[in-house]
């Protein structure tokens, strides 16, 4: 009936099992990524920086800990798993009828571009990831045949480029500061000096950067007012930010960041790590090593990260390297491996059977759940919904997170009792195959098939 490569055949339980491990991890990652996106949905980044500048209280510690554990690292895990999903799709069985796998794969990615644009531009999720995964997934299509070792090397190169880009930006800022200093010295020497255009530019370039390092109360109020307005206002408020993220940020940073992690995911898939093929001992070692390394990097570079918020000038001028950014690729990779290992240990142990089952359901409907988070947050926080943007304290955001988790887990479990896929998955697969796929599970058939579905595939 449904003979596409989206499924491993339900008969071969040996194959179905690792895939299920993957969808369990996918569930974990999709829920985890809310830690990161809730910050963008719920409050301004200026407010988050204020929490760091203000006297250190509970909010500060909560923010610092969630940042160290999850902010970029939950995204890293999701990205790695999406990379694994690429190979799962490409290595799937060739469908007997209809287009070949490469064709289906490209269609899958191009439809995902539209899902990403929908998430960003219609649901107004400024932190959308699908757009990037979709496009980089096309770039990585020819890499699918590489052996695990070569994929690791590609991931490493891409990660180094990512770190290099951060360094480059930092060095540029240093130059901007020097140019600014020259102009200021000139003005000091001669109060009546008339600056030429270039000097004016030099001066304002740095002043613009330095302004980011201070809290702009008026700016924040304007932003909050805009976010609590009608849909059109929110849209035009967020549009420049989304376009910036999808054009310049993508080109300069995100491409290398995500490509590195997607390649890592492909490598981890090929090497059997994400297929649940290592020994429990190996997973335990990797869990401890990955999390320890990742956290060590996060906490050791914390003072530098804070200095960039507290005193941007001092941060730019005194530091040799922006350490917190330079280590980010390594930190993300280590944490993603650590979380995945930990997840697989949980998956293997018999203690958390119902948790595994629940997260497996969430992971099978990963795309639906990811989009549903945007729907819920956009309606909860923005003006055309309940208008809570900027209204909650930092810790209160986590009540929202917990509610969404609960809702999504229950919904996924119930939904998959009746349907083969989540609604967004169904739409996606039907678009890829250009026909309406059957959705409802016939009542006499046990709901086995869904359990072998791939993470976001």
């Amino acid at each position: 009936m449904i003979t596409s490569s989206l499924f491993s055949s339900p008969e071969s339980t040996a194959r179905a099992k690792p895939v299920s491990a993957l969808s369990f991890l996918g569930g974990l990652a999709v829920l985890g990524v809310l830690f990161s996106s809730i910050q963008e949905f719920g409050m301004t980044s200026a407010r988050l920086n204020e929490i760091i500048r203000e006297p250190h209280g509970a909010s500060y510690w909560l923010l610092t800990i969630t940042n160290a554990l999850f902010r970029t690292n939950a995204v890293a895990l999701l990205t790695v798993l999406f990379g694994a999903g690429i190979l799962l799709f490409l290595n799937g069985p060739q469908p007997t009828t209809g287009p070949a796998i490469p064709e289906l794969y490209i269609r899958r990615q191009l439809w995902l571009v539209l899902f990403g644009l929908f998430n960003a531009l219609v649901l107004l999720a400024p932190g959308d990831l699908l757009f990037f995964y979709a496009i980089i997934g096309v770039f990585l299509f020819p890499f699918g045949r590489l052996p695990a070792r070569a994929l690791f090397i590609c991931a490493l190169v891409s990660g180094l480029l990512f770190a290099g880009k951060y360094y480059w930006n930092f060095a540029e800022n240093k130059q901007k500061y020097e140019a600014y200093q020259k102009v200021v010295a000139l003005e000091k020497k001669n109060k009546k000096v008339k600056l030429n255009d270039e000097q004016k530019e030099d001066k304002s370039a740095w002043e613009g950067l330095a302004r980011q390092g201070t809290f702009d109360k008026k700016g924040e109020e304007t932003a909050i007012r805009a976010m609590r307005s009608d849909y059109g206002t929110v849209w035009s408020h967020l549009l420049p930010r989304i376009q910036q993220a999808e054009s310049a940020d993508f080109y300069q940073l995100r491409l290398w960041n995500f490509a590195s992690l997607l390649l890592l995911g492909m490598a981890l898939f090929k090497s059997g790590f994400l297929l649940n093929q290592l020994t429990t001992r190996q997973y335990a070692v990797l869990a401890v090593a990955g999390l320890a390394l990742g956290q060590a990097l996060a906490w050791l570079t914390l003072p530098v990260a804070e200095r960039s918020v507290l005193d941007f000038t001092k941060y730019t001028t005194t530091l040799l390297l922006p350490w917190h950014l330079i280590v980010q690729p390594l930190e993300q990779a280590a944490m993603a491996i650590g979380y995945a290992s930990l997840g697989l240990l949980i998956y293997r142990s018999s203690l958390f059977k119902s948790l595994v089952k629940a997260l497996d359901a969430v992971g099978q409907m990963a795309l639906t759940n990811y989009l549903l988070q945007s729907v819920l947050c956009t309606l909860f926080f923005n003006g055309y919904g309940f208008s809570y943007f900027g209204d909650l304290l930092y810790y209160q955001l986590f009540f929202v997170v917990a509610e969404i988790w609960l809702l999504q887990t229950l919904l996924s479990l119930v939904w998959l009792r009746y349907f083969y896929f989540g609604p967004a998955e169904w739409l996606w697969y039907s678009l890829i195959h250009q026909r309406r796929l059957p959705m409802q599970i016939p009542s006499e058939e046990p709901a086995q098939m869904g359990s072998s579905i791939a993470v976001l595939s």
């Binding site: 070949a100 064709e103 490209i106 269609r107 993508f250 080109y251």
Partner: protein
């Protein structure tokens, strides 16, 4: 099963010489004669587009003082600008995009899938990734800000699932892309009009000798800054000339931010410009237009329609945008609710079809066979010739070469164009007598198939 990659890589630009190689023929369709003919005319038109692109690019390579052109509209400089603008603006890029779309269809349909080993799709995407990197090389290393390879590589990645789409739907897709461009154009124009309206309001307040509010002040400077972009700026030009005539490092760091923002924003906001023409090109290929399969009377009709509608539209566009618009952008914004750019894609598609029809009619008439042969060779080595134009211009105009940047007047630039044309028309057929592909084609292929490709012309090797 091991197959020599060279045999499956039969190209979108195979030459008659390659055709005669017996161990290649078995992988091709059963009608090699028709195919050779078809491929020849695709190359022929590509050759024209390739040479034409230099005509459009040359000001970008070496000219400074664009807005000075409009001070006097009765001299050779302006006539040159007007002739090139009315006749060719956007059309050569358009033809090139059309042929890129057509080339995608030829590339993916010419090859057979191997039993195991990389699929045709994989080769296609590998090829495009290398193309993106070649584009970055062209922009950042050869210092050509107007590079298109990077964009073609990325846009090409969208085309693959449409390679078997029916031509009617391809036209719908092309129109959709044009529609998106038009929508964006209109948004931009509306913004301009708002800016202008706010400025006029502030000006009125000022006229009544009242003090401007900070917001009104802002509106005033915002428009004035926009207006400045339409005026000659000798200071900026002088700086540009100085930078471009410096050593390689200076030019590199001067162009770096421009290149990077072009590539970042250009692909995100501007991909529709290329995609529309690529889809149109795929449709035209499917209809047999590029493959010289239509009747002479059909080509005469497309010629008449293309030029008949395209030229007046182009004249109107040129007049409004460059004559009225640049001389007084304020009045232009006040007068027109609709952005004049809205006709851009229609006029260039029509003109491009007109140019291609004319060329095909000349080809059929058999009037200048040597020129047709030379143009076909240029088109067959289009990738090499395109990069060669960058190499020649970067060395001719920039400081680390002859340093002619900003030294030539507008019409003099076209002496350089003519020289490069003659050079490429002579060198390409000669090169292809001895080698199968142009040097950059050879490199590109070798990278795509990840093994050194045979380069020597097999006909010569056996002789």
């Amino acid at each position: 099963m091991e197959i020599n990659p060279a045999s499956i890589l039969t190209t979108d630009v195979a030459s008659p010489v390659v055709q005669s190689n017996p161990d290649r023929v078995q992988f091709r369709s059963p009608r090699p004669v028709v195919k050779a003919d078809r491929i020849q005319t695709v190359d022929l038109i590509r050759g024209l587009a390739l040479l034409g692109i230099l005509m459009m690019n040359i000001p970008g390579f070496g000219f400074v003082g664009f807005f000075d052109l409009f001070k006097n509209t009765h001299n050779l400089d302006f006539y040159t600008f007007a002739a090139v603008g009315v006749g060719f603006e956007g059309t050569m890029r358009g033809l090139f995009s059309m042929l890129f779309g057509a080339g995608m269809v030829l590339f993916t349909s010419n090859k057979q899938e191997l039993a195991d080993g990389p699929t045709v799709a994989e080769f296609y995407y590998r090829r495009l990734i290398w193309l993106v990197l070649f584009g970055a090389f062209n922009a950042y290393i050869l210092m050509w800000r107007g590079d298109i390879l990077y964009y073609y590589g990325l846009c090409g990645m969208l085309l693959y699932p449409f390679r078997k789409t029916k031509p009617g739907w391809l036209v719908v897709l092309a129109l959709t892309c044009i529609g998106i461009t038009m929508f964006k154009n209109q948004l931009y124009w509306n913004e301009m009009r708002e800016k202008r309206a706010a400025y006029l309001q502030a000006a009125q307040v000022e006229k009544a000798h009242k003090k401007l509010t900070p917001k009104q002040q802002e509106a005033k400077t915002a428009w004035q800054n926009t207006e400045k972009n339409y005026k000659p700026d000798p200071e900026r030009d002088a700086k540009r000339v100085k930078k471009m005539r410096s050593d390689y490092g200076t030019v590199f760091s001067y162009l770096l931010p421009q290149n990077s923002s072009n590539e970042a924003y250009g692909i995100y906001h501007g991909c529709w410009d290329m995609l529309s023409m690529m889809f149109l090109g795929m449709a035209l290929l499917a209809w047999g237009f590029f493959s010289n399969r239509l009747s002479t009377s059909t080509y005469v009709t497309t010629l008449l329609v293309g030029y008949g509608l395209g030229l007046p539209l182009s004249w109107l566009f040129f007049n409004k945008l460059y004559v009225t618009g640049i001389q007084d952008i304020g009045r232009m914004v006040d007068t027109y609710r609709v952005n004049i750019d809205q006709v851009y894609d229609f006029r260039r598609a029509l003109l491009a079809i007109g140019h291609a029809s004319l060329l095909l009619l000349v080809y059929r008439s058999g009037l200048v066979p040597w020129l047709m042969h030379a143009l076909t060779s240029v088109g067959q080595m289009a990738f090499t010739n395109y990069l060669m134009q960058s190499i020649i211009c970067t060395l001719f105009f920039n400081g680390y070469g002859l340093g002619y940047f900003g030294k030539l007047s507008y019409y003099q630039l076209y002496y350089v164009v003519a020289a490069v044309w003659v050079f490429q028309l002579i060198i390409s057929p000669i090169w292809l007598r001895y080698f199968r592909f142009g040097p950059f084609e050879w490199l590109w292929r070798s990278l795509t198939y990840w093994s050194w490709q045979p380069m020597r012309n097999p006909a010569l090797a056996t002789a």
